[in-house]
């Protein structure tokens, strides 16, 4: 019985960190993360969403050439699933503070979590939606209400993208280690033997 259940589900464990953000124009940033996955995926342990500290760039000489916002925020989660369909995506949204201390969106980004076990490092490009008219853009800048997506998960989906205009700015680096269990036993191969 136990063997049967092993053969129909596999476990996906990810441990890593949201390491840093590379935003040339902006400082004082924090990052929200969540995951977007299919119906067959269940989160067994770990936090499905979180929010980092507000981090500012270092202004010491050694970092001046390419100042990064460091978060060093831990990620740890385990999924169980019956199929690779609906493979989880990490969805990041970076907010920053403007001169008046209001929260302003600085970037949305999403990427599929690595499908191979082992160590991975990826840099996720970030985009912000643009207002549909210049008037709204100016008004939004003054009032501190920029165009935002209704849900950050929008950036992880393909539907409805053709009507959005975005501006790409900055990157976020995520590093992680992935362990897969019971995947090969189900007949799947994810790397050349």
């Amino acid at each position: 019985m136990a063997e049967d259940s092993l053969a129909t589900t596999f476990l996906y464990t990810l441990s890593g960190e949201i390491q840093s953000g590379d935003f040339f124009e902006f400082d004082s940033l924090y990052c929200k993360y969540s995951f977007n996955q299919g119906q067959d995926w269940t989160l067994l342990s770990g936090l499905s969403e979180g929010i980092t500290q507000i981090s500012t760039k270092s202004h010491t000489k050694s970092y001046l050439s390419n100042p990064l916002v460091i978060w060093n925020f831990p990620l740890e989660l385990t999924y169980s699933s019956t199929t690779p369909f609906g493979w989880p995506q990490i969805v990041l949204s970076v907010y920053g503070l403007d001169i008046l201390g209001r929260d302003v969106i600085r970037g949305y980004g999403a990427i599929h979590l690595p499908c191979q076990s082992g160590e991975h490092s990826f840099s996720i490009p970030m985009v912000v939606p643009k207002s549909s008219t210049i008037f709204q853009e100016i008004l939004g800048t003054i009032l501190g209400r920029r165009a935002e997506f209704l849900s950050p998960a929008f950036i992880a989906q393909g539907a409805g993208r053709e009507v959005t205009r975005v501006r790409s700015q900055g990157r976020v680096v995520v590093k992680c280690h992935v362990i897969l269990r019971g995947f090969k036993e189900m007949g799947y191969s994810y790397a050349r033997e």
Binding site: P84, H112, R161, R167, S168, Y190
Partner: protein, 175 residues
């Protein structure tokens, strides 16, 4: 039936003359293949990049296919458009790339080309915009009927594709 999962992203477009790009994509495959889940076509957002060079799409591709035959291995047809300052969409080019047949993670780059018209067309294109387009997808997807077309290079798309296969070895398919 053997199964194939294609999980990944259209990451970016580089080297194009104008950075305000969007791209539509369509997965095409042989008759023996069947789609079990996911979208097989889509269109990205328009990116107006802050660095004026690389258009970021980060558009998810997530498809689950089943097959009885390895012939007609899936491939993706891309059409890249740029948005002019007047809001018109103009063709930037076509590109087609096969999904890698080995399981694992792949960083792909797909070169993009577009047809060029006569000198008169090029002059009109320079002043008025608009560019010649191909009527039939078959010209892009198959090797026939390409011999009389003049084309020019326009840029490169970058993709990150994870391929997961299932049960191909049961049918003695070595991938």
């Amino acid at each position: 039936m053997a199964e194939l999962h294609i999980i990944g992203e259209i990451v970016s477009g580089v080297g194009f003359s104008s950075p305000n790009l969007f791209c539509s994509w369509k997965l095409s495959y042989g008759n023996a293949w069947k789609e079990l889940g996911g979208d097989t076509e889509g269109q990205t957002h328009v990116d107006i990049p802050s660095d004026y060079t690389t258009a970021i799409f980060s558009h998810p591709i997530h498809v689950h296919l089943a097959t009885r035959d390895v012939q007609g291995w899936p491939r993706i047809l891309f059409r890249v458009y740029r948005e002019s300052i007047f809001g018109q969409s103009e063709l930037c080019g076509y590109g087609v790339t096969y999904i890698p047949s080995t399981p694992g993670m792949h960083e792909l780059s797909c070169h993009v080309w577009k047809p060029v018209g006569t000198l008169l067309h090029q002059v009109l294109e320079f002043f008025l915009g608009g560019s010649p387009e191909l009527v039939d997808d078959d010209v892009i997807l198959s090797g026939t009927n390409r011999q009389r077309i003049c084309t020019t290079t326009s840029g490169k798309l970058k993709l990150r594709i994870n391929v997961i296969t299932r049960n191909f070895d049961k049918f003695n398919v070595d991938i």
